[in-house]
């Protein structure tokens, strides 16, 4: 990684009718304010009223989704970096 690279941030959104923040993906930004702006542009795309959290990916500590499962990688202190609980709403057709 060179000095000029922008670190990875994970993005969490809570929609208008949501009860909690949901992990939706990641983006690169130079600082937290930029990350918020970019999250709004990329993940809410002109939608209003969405609460956004951005967190440096390296600040996230994660457990394995299946702790009892011996079949995760031995080098498995990799940070969990992608949503496995990305819910598709029921009313989206053909999904």
């Amino acid at each position: 990684m060179t000095e000029s690279e922008w670190p990875l941030y994970e993005v969490f959104l809570r929609g208008k009718r949501g009860l909690n923040h949901v992990h939706v993906g990641s983006l690169h930004a130079a600082d937290p304010q930029m990350a918020l702006h970019h999250a709004r542009d990329l993940y809410t795309r002109r939608n209003e009223g969405v609460s956004i959290w951005v967190v440096r990916a390296c600040d996230i500590t994660a457990s394995s989704p299946d702790e009892k499962d011996p079949f995760f990688a031995p080098s498995g202190d990799k940070v969990y970096r992608h949503p496995t609980f990305y819910d598709i709403p029921d009313d989206v057709p053909h999904m």
Binding site: S4, E5, W6, G25, L42, F72, P74, M95
Partner: protein, 321 residues
Amino acid sequence: MTAALQAHFDATIARDRRIEPRDWMPEAYRATMIRQIAQHAHSEIIGMQPEGNWITRAPSLRRKAILLAKVQDEAGHGMYLYSAAETLGADRSDLTEKLIGGRQKYSSIFNYPTLTYADVGVIGWLVDGAAICNQVPLCRSSYGPYARAMVRICKEESFHQRQGYELLLTMMGGTAGQREMVQDATNRFWWPSLMMFGPPDDASPNTEQSMRWGVKRHTNDELRQRFVDMTVPQAEKLGVTLPDPRLRWNEDRGHYDFGPVDWQEFKAVVAGNGPCNAQRVTRRKAAHDDGAWVREAAAAHARKSQDPAQRARLTGEADHD
């Protein structure tokens, strides 16, 4: 231990379940997935260029807004896909270097020029149509982050295709000049759209392994045939002629027969000798290189902002939110 991990991996694939970032996977699978996802991401970003070419000249403000929103969506798609590739340990700036260094590819269709405004509609209809055919099966890709990115992308691209087709319907119902423009654009994009599905199955060595890994769900020829079958009636409805004299319904097969694709042209374009290859990469490289000082400045500022003395000076800015 590796044998057991491999068995678990194979069983996951066999049960049509998802491989997730923290799961063990064969290195070849990881490398293949990174390459496939990266090339898909590059395609979205490069694809912004031929379409973006007509934003400033769109002939109505509504069409201009629609096209600008579409190109913005494509930037977003590229980013979702780069994010998915990064969960496999890839680094986005490294992937960008590979793209602009010619070491990773993008969809060959974007190496064709957009020469008239009708190209915008035809790209929506044919190119996005072919992309959807390719991409819907990828929503069931064995790699979880990729499958989920594809679900989101497919949803957005179905609107893009619809918009493109609607523009063509409007133009075909318009003046003679508009109709000629649409026919001309169709003539130029039909065969390259068929090439988007890749080489024929008998010339596609990776297909078998990709299908075994759940990386690919259908063969190139299967998808190409499906696309033709769906598109011919749409062309009839538009009133455009597809530039293939051999195109005809085959009752026995239950599919449209179509003429031979010029695979020499395809190979040339994939090898870097298409009409726009150099131009596309040069543009991407220029944006990246010209932007280096900006990225560095933002990073430098972020480092300074962590310094307490600097923070004091900048808190005025924070109150301004």
